[in-house]
Structures are given as C-alpha cells and as structure tokens.
Amino acid sequence: MYATNYHRASSVQDAVKLQAGADEGKYLSGGMTLIATMKQRLASPSDLVDLRHIPDLKGISGNGKSVRIGAAVTHFDVASSAELKAVCPAICDLAHHIGDPHVRHMGTIGGSVANNDPAADYPAALLALDAIVVTNAREIKAADFFTGLFETALEDGEMIVAITFDAPQRAAYAKFRNPASRYAMTGVFVARRDNGDVRVAVTGAGADGVFRHSGMEATLAANWSPDALAGIAVDPSNLMADIHASSEYRANLVKVMAKRAVAAS
C-alpha cells in the first residue's frame, strides 16, 4: 500500500469537505474492496475519508411499508435487522450471504452500492426493489444509478447517505457463487409488488453489470411460479465470460437462479 492520509468524518458535511480538500480523496465505507485494491497498489488515493462513524449514515428505520437503510449500515446489521425481516426478508438473506463474517461486519451497503462491482449482490436487490439511492445532493432511482461496470451516477464528491425502498409483496434472492472468490457468478433477485409489477434483476452475469430481464418479468407477472420460467430462453450474447463460466453457462444460471428465487419467495 502506498502512504495515504486517513480521516474519520464526523458528519456528512465534514466528509464532503474533507474529500473536496484532498488531492485525490476517496470515501471509505468498510473498505472491503478498496483496502484490498490499495494493498495490491492498484489504487492510491491521497486521502481516505471514513464514513462509517457518521451518525446520520447509521441505522435502519421504517414504517412497516417503506424502509430506510443508512449507507454505513453493515451487511451483518442488514442481515440481522428484525425491522427489515418483517418487511423484506429477502434483503436480510442476501446480506447474510455476502462474503464471510469478517466482511459482513466491516462492509456496508453504501460502500457496496457505490462500488457497483458487477459481481456484488446489493445492486440486484436495489434494481429489483426499485430502490432509491439517497445522496447528500439528491435522490437517484436504482435504475438510473448503476451505469456500468464499477460505474455509477455519483458525481465526484457525491456520497450515498441512505437506501430507501418500499416493501415488496414477495421477493427472494438466489445466488450461484464463483467457486474461487465466492462472489456471485450469477445472482438473481426477484420481486413482486402489491400492484402486480414484477422485477427480475441479475448480477454477476451481465457484461455491463446489473440488468433486468424483461422476458422473465412479463412471464412472472402473468404467472408467479418457477415452472412458468421453463420456456424462457436467456440470451448469452450480453453476458460475461471468464475462466469460471462461459456466457452460455451464465445464461443457464440466470434462468435456474430465477426459478429458485421464485420458488423461495
């Protein structure tokens, strides 16, 4: 790791100011990707602004219908939140299967969402739940937030404050892990709203990152059952290929994981 300056921000305003004042400042919110990247000398921010201790970024709140998760809430806290379990157990289950216990106690939802790793789990949940990414400047719909591999709509210096979404009627996440890294090699989050709208969001598979599968959404809107997906063909042409999984295999996994998610919902 190259030398860097560490700052612990006390408020959102403080964090923004610290970041703006640095040569190449980076927000740190768990660091489960950033610190590892820095240790490999693949990233060298001049300053790190730690967001995990800002009171406004902590806590999970809700009214039984809509939910707000602070950006600095750890995966462990999402996984074990009774409040979330009551309205969307699928997101608790998702968080419970991120990384390992060390990662779940350090990594945060805001950090994961801002990083937009194409194999991360949260982007699928946010997209399927039609969540809002609340920043210090504005509110961004998930569909507009994730713009590409490791790319988001965040402007320089803009930081995530919270994630909000309305409770789905039914939802579930099914993940197929990469045998080596255990990141999602394909993860599918399915959600149905009270009004019958269905969203199927896929992570770990898309060549451009998280995406929705409209064919499965339409099918499931008509018939919310795993068997309904039997006739669906997933096009491999826009899917990733690497040494662990061809795009054809990923296309198969998208369908299988979608079926399993619906079955679990």
Binding site: Y2, R41, F176, A180, H244, Y249
Partner: protein, 782 residues
C-alpha cells in the same frame, strides 16, 4: 502400547504454540540491523532484457542497495540446478537450460526475478522496485507442453531444441506392443492431469545474515530440508562452504513439496546480505507465491490398456508429456519418471508395461514435486483407465480390479518396483462394505426421484514411499543419497533430546518421534524433545517429503536408540551386578529380569555422566547417533470410494460420502495419521473439483494469481470422511511403517472423477470438474 507410546492418539505437543499463535516462523525472525527485500520480477512470460536502469530507484528513500544478475554472476554465484540426471532413450543426458538466480539476459516466466532491492522498510523496497526500469524486448510465449513441442513454437533454451528436455522410456516396448496386438480388448483414453499451485498456509520467506567478523552466513528459510539446502548452496551455488553456512528452518507452515527446493530468493538474500552489509529478509506475498512457488502435476497422457478374453490385463502402454515450466527445479526430472512411471503397475499384475515420457520447457513457473509427486499422476491415469475399461467390458469395476490384483509378495513389477507386502482385496472389501456399495442402485433411484444424478466411483492406489534406498536412487540418477540420520542425546538427568534430519512442517514429528522414544524407554513424552531444522544442531539429514519421515527418519532414531539402550543396559548391569543380557527396560526403569532389582532411567543416565562407576573401559556419556539407509521403498496402498450427486441444472457436484481404506503398515499415532489422510483427501478433492492453474495461452500471464480465481477447497466443499485401516506391516524397516502423508492426495482424484463420470454418463470430463464443465458435459452426453 502405553498411553503415550506407539499406537496411542497422543495430542500433538506442538499444537499449543501453533494454536495460540506462538509458532516461530521465518518471518517472525528479527535480528539487529535487519532490512527488507523486494524482488523486481518480470511482468512478461518471455523477453530479452535490453537494459536495467536503477539510477532513479537508487536515490529513493530508505534504499540500501539494488543488485542485479550481472553482479551475481561476477561474484561467481552459481546457476540453479536440477539434482537428478535423466538420460533420454537415445542415451543422451537431459537438456538442462541455464537458470540464473537473477536473470540478466532473458526472462522466461512471469515472476522471473531480475533484481533485488534492499531498503529500510518493505514499503520503501517496493517503492524503489517500481522505480527500477527494465527495458524488455518481449518475445512470444508458450505455456502448454503439448504445444511447446510443435514446430514453430517459441524456443526457451538453446540447450533444449524444440523445448524437449528429455525423451525417456521405461519397460518393454516390444512386449507391450505385442500384448496390445494380441488383446481381446484395448481401452484407450487421453487424460490430462491438471496443474496445481501448492498453497502452503505460510508463504515462502528467507532471512540472510552475513557476519563479516566470522565470514559466516546464516540462512533462515522455509525449507523442508535445511541440510539439503546447505549442501546445494555450498556445493553448487558457491554461496559459502558448508562450515560457513548455517541453515535454519524454524517452524514451517506447510510445504507439500514446494519447500523442498532451493529457490533464487534464499541464494540472493544471502549474497545481498554480504553485498549490502545488512541482514536481509524477504517474505513472499500470496500472489508472489502463485507466481513463483514450484507448481505440481501438468501431464497429458495417452493410455492403451490391453485385456485378454478373461479380462486380465496383459499390457499397458503410456505416452506422457510433462510440463516442467521455464527451468528445471531441483527434483523436477525425477517426478514424471522414477516417481511416476515406476508406479504404473498399480495394484495389478501386468506382465508388460511400457511408458514413454517427454518433458518440456514452457513459459510457466517451474513444476516439481507436489504432495504425491508422480504417484497421483500414475494413480489417476490407471484408475480412470480401469474404470473406463470396466464400463467398456460391461463388468463391475470392483470385480475387474479384484481379478487383476497382485496377490503374492514380494512382487516384481516390470517397472523397477518390488512390492514387499500388501493386501489389496482387504482394503477393497472394507471400502465397499463401509460405502454400502451394494445399496447404491437404490440410492441412485431415490436421487433420480429428486431430480439428482447420483454416481459412485472407486480408486485402488499404490504409492512408493519411504524414499529411498541410496544406491538404488543413485543408479537412477539422483544426485544425493536418501538415507536419514538421528542422534539420541540422553541428558545427565535422563531427559532426552532427539536430533533428527527429518523436518516437521505440519506432520507432528515433535509428538510422534517422542512417542517412539517413550515406547522404547517407558519415559513420559514430556521428557523427550525433538530437535530438527537447524544445521548447527542436527548433524545431517535429508529432510521430509515422499512420506519418508516415519519409515526412514524414525528408523534412524530406532538405530540410535538401539545403541543408547545397549550402553544403558551395560551400565545398569554393572551397577546392579547382573548380566547384561538379563537387563530389560520397562516403564522408565532398567530391571534385572526375574528379580526385584531396578534402577530408574535417570539414575543410569546420571551414572553415565558422573562416570564414577562405569564398566572398565567405557566412555562417559550417553549419546548415540545413527544413519539409516532403507533397503527398499515402502508401498502404502488402499481403496477409496466416492459417491456424488450432481445437480443437472447447475452442474454442481455434491460429495455424499467419501470412504478411505488404507494400508499404512504400523501406525505410531492414529489421530495424526487421520489428520494426514483428511488433509490429503482435501487436496485431492481440490484437484478433482476446484483447483487449476490457468495461464493465458496467448501471453503467458497467470490468470489464477490470487484466491479470487484459484479455487482452494474449503470446509463446506468437503464431506466427513470415513476412514479405516487394513494394515500389513512393512517388512523392510524396523517399525513396519509405510507412510501416510501423500495417500489421500494420491487416491482421491480418480475416485471422485469416476463417481462424477458415472453420474453424468460422460467419460470425457477433465479435472477440475467445475460446475461449468460438468454442466457442459452433461448437456453433451444428453
């Protein structure tokens, strides 16, 4: 057996320090004035070095020195050698290219060391290393051995035209060809044994200390054989004469073969310590380990197995191409020859065997012994072939094996080995009973109702361990003898230190060797210390690999104990005025048989050292040494059965049960043996299901350079193992030990692959059987 003697599952003495984080590894060593090294390594798989510019780097903060290969050569430090001479079938010696500890003309794999930077801190060393400008002329690279032999491929070494190191054969080609021509059935198969990275938990490290006042070097290093390291560094690398070089391998966190060899870093850090005037420590990081630790396996073989009309094997013909990487590592030439092809008879009576082995240079890290070393490759080849043959012949795989087992001993195979003892059917039957082999059809039907494809497979392995008779290996080209030495030092108060040339890096020698002493003398194991891993403390040794420490290392201790006991008995007889032949040693006492006269052990030891009343002419003291050279290899064998369920939707293989029935000869500590088998099976399952070194075939970059892409087996990938033993004592060593360290890794991959191919009905599957590959094979089969 006593509670601490041979056969007792004594808790490991060394675990207290390991489990409480108080182990002392090379990286824990710190000496005054010590500085840190970082190596500049080639980012290319193949390139000419046009120039190395250190000018900017030398002025970086904290830099003490930057050294390159030209200086190393000017100081007459030798090139790295392979210690086992193999001759091609035309009689010519192997074509060994030059391996410089620091390359200054050509780099041949990604990670090849080019320069060493020594600085006040590791961070500063690394910063400066990034500022060293190496101008490379990048050359085309080749990573696959089969391809490297083809015309028009990049050439690695001028000494090895067409990248061929040697073209070797063993066995009777004409008789084998005739058997194939006469056969009622010939099973043919092409098999790839996938390339593995060894991944010991502790990465390699070294600390080189030059003492200018004494003109003496000390090398702390992560070695499985510190004496061999000293010998080779003295005799071949010209670092220092042996009396001026101390090598210490303190606690070592796993080796699996990869820490047998002497790597560039040990040599360079010692030399750099003299050049810079400071002690120099280097510790490998994990990606550096993937890039530079010697890899294992990487064979491609074609097999023909000939059967007569009664399904008896009448001939076996094998053609193997083995990838040795960019340079010949210390024992690399022996692994795909004498550690591999000599085991191609397996557990079977095969009258004619012929194997041809070509070894090849490629732009990859050197390949050498990795847990099993040649024997897993032989077992995988034979046992997948046997299973394939059984399917083709329409007979039970168990019956086909049973019908061809060697049943009388000693048995001389056509490929050098002389099997001394075994009962292969006993292990086969035990494994089948344990796995409820006969109930499989019902389980398969039940799984099918759940939409799962269930399969079962077996593997009957044999290995040659306890390496090795020195004269025999010498006649086959080994540059060293493979005996072991021990010294038993009884202190004046009766406590005991055993100096052994074996080296423990996870095997539990501090416990098992002490159990041997406790068993012989009836003293508590707490009064016995095992000393190993330091050339200044231990007289000499050949180290630990090839499942040799019990069979060879302990046999040396037995010989030394024989001498200690003989002297102790003489002293006791003298003190108790009895005949020496009437003295027995029991429960920590020397007794006159048939009387109530006894002397406690410590009193005899004290008498030896006070020397006030010794038999006339006897030297004081009670300390004896011995060298033991085995008369034969040992032959552990067994039968492994694996049962799997494949999810046809995803291709995921779930291991339902794994049964291991082993013959290890006599066992010192059953718990430690179980641990060895568990670890070995885990590594074998890793090879079959998960692990694979992947180089980009276009440019030679290592894709699997971290755990993000290299899949190590984890606890939740593995079932609980069911173990049993059917032990036939080894007749060739005093303890009847065969060895157990490698069996699990040798026997398990074919059992698992036979089970998966049985489940999916597609025999073309290659290791590792990843979900993607199983899914594709399943779809191809349907």
């Amino acid at each position: 057996m006593g509670v601490e003697g041979i056969g007792a599952s004594v808790a490991r003495k060394e675990d207290k320090r390991f489990l409480t984080g108080k182990g002392r590894y090379t990286d824990d060593m710190s000496v005054p004035g010590m500085k840190y090294a970082f190596f500049v390594r080639s980012p290319y798989a193949h390139a000419k070095i046009k120039s190395i510019d250190m000018s900017a780097a030398k002025d970086m903060p904290g830099v003490i020195g930057i050294l390159e290969g030209k200086q190393l050569q000017a100081d007459a430090i030798g090139n790295i050698i392979c210690g086992w001479m193999i001759h091609s079938k035309d009689g010519s010696p192997m074509n060994m290219g030059v391996w410089r500890p620091l390359a200054h003309e050509t780099v041949r794999y990604v990670g090849d060391a080019v320069a060493i930077v020594v600085a006040d801190s590791l961070g500063e060393a690394r910063d400066a290393a990034e500022a060293v400008v190496v101008d490379y002329d990048v050359l085309p690279a080749v990573t696959e051995a089969v391809k490297a032999l083809e015309p028009g491929q990049p050439q690695l070494h001028p000494e090895a035209p067409n990248n061929l190191i040697f073209d070797w054969q063993i066995g009777d080609g004409a008789a084998t060809d005739k058997a194939i021509a006469d056969a009622a059935h010939v099973t043919e198969i092409t098999l790839r044994n996938n390339r593995l990275a060894p991944n010991p938990m502790e990465p390699r490290a070294t600390l080189g200390i030059y003492d200018s006042a004494e003109d003496h070097y000390t090398c702390y290093t992560t070695s499985q054989n510190p004496h061999v390291a000293r010998l080779v560094m003295s005799a071949f690398y010209n670092v220092a004469p042996e009396n001026k070089l101390r090598v210490i391998a303190p606690d070592v966190g796993g080796g699996f073969g990869s820490k047998i060899y002497i790597y560039p870093e040990e040599i360079v850090c010692l030399w750099a310590s003299k050049k810079t005037g400071v002690p120099v420590k280097w510790t490998c990081d994990r990606t550096e380990a993937f890039l530079t630790d010697a890899h294992g396996r990487d064979h491609v073989s074609t097999v023909k197995m000939a059967f007569d009309k009664d399904n008896r094997i009448i001939g076996l013909k094998v053609d193997t191409i083995a990838n040795l990487g960019a340079y010949m590592s210390l024992f690399s030439s022996a692994v795909p020859t004498y550690l591999y092809a000599t085991l191609l008879s397996g557990q079977y009576a095969i009258p004619a065997i012929h194997a041809n082995v070509r070894t090849v240079y490629t732009n990859t890290v050197p390949v050498d012994a990795y847990r099993g070393a040649g024997r897993p490759e032989a077992t995988y080849l034979l046992e997948r072939t046997m299973e394939t043959a059984a399917r083709e012949l329409g007979v039970s795989p168990a019956e086909l094996r049973r019908q061809n087992f060697v049943r009388t001993f000693p048995y001389q195979t056509p490929v050098i080995m002389n099997y001394d003892a075994g009962d292969y059917e006993a292990s086969l039957e035990a494994a089948m009973a344990s796995a409820d082999w006969n109930g499989f059809a019902a389980r398969k039907a039940e799984a099918a109702r759940r939409g799962k494809k269930r399969g079962i497979g077996m593997s009957c392995y044999i290995e040659a361990c306890g390496i090795a008779p020195s004269a025999a290996v010498g006649s086959l080209g080994a540059g060293v003898g493979l005996w072991e030495s021990a010294e038993v030092r009884v202190n004046a108060v009766g406590t005991i230190e055993v100096m052994t040339g074996s080296h423990s890096h996870g095997q539990g020698h501090e416990t098992t060797f002490a159990q041997l002493v406790a068993d012989r003398l009836g003293v508590p194991i707490d009064s016995v210390n095992i000393v190993h891993g330091d050339t200044d403390k231990v007289q000499m040794g050949m180290g630990t690999y090839g499942s040799r420490s019990g069979a060879v290392g302990m046999s040396a201790v037995v010989k030394a104990l024989d001498k200690v006991e003989a002297k102790a008995k003489k002293i006791a007889a003298h003190l108790m005025e009895a005949d020496e032949s009437d003295i027995v040693i029991e429960n920590g006492e020397l007794k006159v048989a048939g009387t109530d006269k006894t002397l406690p052990w410590f009193q005899v030891a004290l008498a030896a050292y006070t020397a006030h009343n010794l038999p006339a002419g006897m030297e004081p003291g009670l300390k004896e040494g011995a060298f033991y050279d085995p008369s034969n290899f040992t032959f552990p064998a067994g039968c492994y059965i694996c049962e799997v369920e494949v999810d046809p939707e995803t291709g995921v293989t779930d291991i339902i049960q794994f049964v291991a029935a082993d013959d290890f000869g006599n066992i010192i500590n059953p718990m430690i043996v179980e641990g060895q088998v568990h670890g070995g099976i885990a590594q074998g399952i890793g090879q079959a299901l998960l692990e694979n070194v992947h180089y980009d075939p276009q440019n030679g970059q290592l894709i699997t350079a971290s755990y993000m892409d290299y899949a190590m087996p984890r606890a939740d990938d593995l079932p609980s193992f069911t173990l049993s033993h059917q032990n036939t004592p080894c007749p060739s060593n005093p303890l009847g030990i065969k060895g157990c360290g490698e069996a699990g890794a040798i026997g398990s991959p074919p059992a698992l692959m036979n089970a998966i191919t049985d489940a999916i009905g597609n025999n073309s599957l290659t290791m590792p059987a990843t979900p993607q590959k199983v899914w594709a094979a399943l779809n191809a089969a349907n």
